[in-house]
């Protein structure tokens, strides 16, 4: 695969130029302490982190990026189909597929792994045409992390830190404010061939240079290897740990709605006020921590207790989906849920508490 070497500024200028022709999403500052993948405009202030950045000096933190970039592939409230009545009085359905090309740039290994997992989920069994159509038309430009982004991250512990699969172009920080750009797919190659950056002949050496620079240990680590965590969460059903971690919980769903591997939704039909014979079905993001999530027709709620909902969430991330897809942890360790929960309930602590509780068991 081909590689190029150029300055950070040149790459940012390139993204700004691309942003004038198509939708380019990049992590931009939001509010006082957050980030948001927003559309790049001509005068957007874009930044990549420095090769020599000390921890804490980084321009981007995954956990304070409210919505993960992968949500651009299944936006909230997306229309699934429109309906209308034809001349014979029969309803006709027209699926809505979004084929606009777009680029998501500056996304990190944790979010990249999450998109890979969402690709698996949405291609499994009944393929989700809405997601897959957007995905097919999306170029992913990922960026390596040499320092843990903040005190919430545990991407190395969940096996996401070195994730590259799914990226079209992968950026690795280099000394002297430079970036190594590697095309990992044909689409990435085409994009880079057009960009006019200088080819790089010593890709391996440059990768190794960055690897040497990578912080060791990197971010938080569980009290046991990942497989033990997964086994422990899989075996924990009745446990006081579930109750402990909901004492302060509001059942607010934030931990679901900001998670890059939460994909549940709720569908709604609505008719047009100016033509009641036509309308649309749309879906909005849902989350298993919300009280009404498991209510079925007739009003029965399968998980009225909050602790049971918390257990369900954690088992989806660290037991059931890993077993179903065989692609490792479905928690990618981005740290969002723990950071954005207003009472600091963190899947990382829950996993460690379950490990400790299992150890203590006779």
């Amino acid at each position: 695969m081909r590689g190029f070497l150029t300055t950070r500024t040149a790459v940012l200028d390139w993204l700004r130029t691309l942003g004038q022709q198509e939708d380019v999403f990049f992590p931009l500052p939001l509010g006082e302490n957050s980030f948001s993948f927003d559309k790049v405009r001509q005068h957007s202030r874009l930044a990549f982190e420095d090769f020599d950045a000390a921890p804490g000096e980084k321009p981007f933190r995954a956990s304070s990026c409210v919505q993960p970039p992968g949500k651009k592939l299944s936006p909230n409230n997306e229309q699934i189909f429109r309906f209308s009545k034809n001349a014979h009085g029969e309803y006709q359905l027209t699926p809505t597929l979004d084929e606009r090309p777009r680029i998501i740039a500056g996304l990190r290994p944790c979010d990249l792994k999450a998109i890979h997992l969402m690709d698996r989920v949405h291609s499994d069994d009944i393929a989700d045409a809405h997601y897959l159509t957007r995905r097919r038309n999306t170029t992913l430009i990922a960026h390596d992390c040499l320092q843990p982004c903040d005190e919430h991250c545990f991407c190395d512990a969940t096996g996401s830190l070195r994730w590259r699969q799914g990226a079209d172009i992968f950026l690795t920080p280099q000394p002297e404010a430079k970036l190594l750009l590697e095309a990992l797919t044909e689409r990435g190659e085409r994009r880079l061939d057009d960009a006019g950056f200088a080819p790089c002949s010593d890709i391996e050496e440059r990768r190794a240079l960055a690897e040497e620079k990578r912080a060791q240990p990197f971010g938080r680590h569980f009290d046991a290897p990942l497989q033990r965590v997964i086994d422990t969460v899989s075996d924990s059903w009745e446990s006081p740990v579930w109750d402990k971690h909901v004492e302060r919980c509001f059942s607010c769903g934030t931990c679901n709605l900001v998670c890059p591997t939460c994909y549940c939704f709720d569908v709604q039909d609505d008719y047009n006020i100016d033509d009641p014979d036509s309308g649309q079905r749309s879906r909005r993001w849902d989350g298993c921590m919300l009280e009404e999530f498991a209510v079925v027709a007739g009003g029965h709620n399968f998980r009225p207790q909050l602790a049971a909902r918390q257990r369900h969430r954690i088992k989806r991330k660290l037991a059931w989906l890993p077993a179903r897809f065989g692609d490792g942890s479905f928690c990618v360790g981005c740290g969002r849920c723990g950071h954005q929960c207003t009472v600091d309930i963190d899947i990382f602590d829950i996993a460690n508490d379950l490990l400790a509780a299992t150890e203590a068991r006779p």
């Binding site: 509010g31 919980c249 509001f250 709605l257």
Partner: protein, 260 residues
């Protein structure tokens, strides 16, 4: 046949009715679906029976309660319109004070003795209290908020017209706040009532850079103990917390559990 709808106002600022009149861009289409038979803000007619009654405002006087019972008897669905009707709103703050103290606060220590307090005419200070609509008659649906959200109003009308059930998700403001990708108020040193407040407003105040003050009322089963503890941790004193909780009074009047 078109559904007949009627609007009534009790103790309120009529802002919710105005919020609905604000649907002017689609108002004519709404009139294709329903017939408005009573609406003091826009019409002078009155009607003996109607399908949906929207009641705005809290119930402060016994004569209002009687009027409300009469409305209930004349409609199929009764909808509480806005925070006053749904949980009393700011005027229900007076419930926390004795009638004498109320008088003093409103009119001052001297003048309060000269205020006419004929209980037949104005029993508020004398012996009654501010009530939400559901504390007097059965309410079928609540449109919450100060003022109501026009999308929720439209949703309700469209669903009832189509013969299906309106749905107002029982979830806090945080959900829509996250839909909109906002930075959480707590992430910049602010505090917020969003986690314990009934959503449906599209988190409009946080979208605008402010916090949620809880105008849509307390979510049933909300974890108040944890919320008060969090506000304390963020530096709010007990009195300040009480005042936040009491602003729209939903904590005092209590949420109505039943919402079909």
């Amino acid at each position: 046949m078109k559904l007949k709808i009627a609007f009534f106002d009790m103790a309120s600022c009529e802002g919710c009715q105005l919020a609905i009149l604000d649907c002017e861009d689609i108002f004519l289409h709404i009139l294709d679906l329903v017939e408005i038979v009573e609406f003091r803000e826009a019409l002078s007619e009155t009607a003996p029976r109607f399908d949906i009654a929207f009641v705005e405002g809290s119930i402060n006087r016994e004569m209002d309660a009687d009027r409300l019972r009469d409305i209930r008897a004349r409609c199929s669905w009764l909808v509480s319109l806005g925070a006053c009707a749904s949980h009393g709103n700011v005027q229900a703050r007076s419930n926390a004070l004795s009638p004498a103290e109320n008088l003093q606060r409103v009119y001052g220590a001297e003048a309060c003795h000269t205020v006419h307090t004929d209980p037949e005419y104005w029993p508020l200070w004398a012996h009654t209290r501010v009530r939400a609509v559901h504390q007097v008659v059965k309410v079928d649906y609540h449109l919450r908020g100060c003022p109501v959200d026009r999308h929720e109003f439209l949703h309700l009308v469209k669903r009832l017209v189509a013969g299906s059930l309106p749905r107002f998700a029982r979830q806090p403001v945080c959900v829509e706040c996250k839909y909109n990708g906002n930075e959480c108020a707590f992430a910049h040193g602010e505090t917020c009532m969003g986690q314990i407040t009934w959503g449906g407003c599209d988190a409009i105040c946080i979208n605008g850079g402010y916090r949620c003050d809880g105008c849509r009322g307390l979510l049933p089963g909300a974890n108040l103990e944890a919320h008060r503890a969090l506000l304390r941790e963020r530096g709010l004193g007990e009195a300040e917390i009480d005042s936040r909780y009491r602003l729209f009074c939903s904590a005092d009047v209590g949420p109505q559990e039943a919402q079909p």
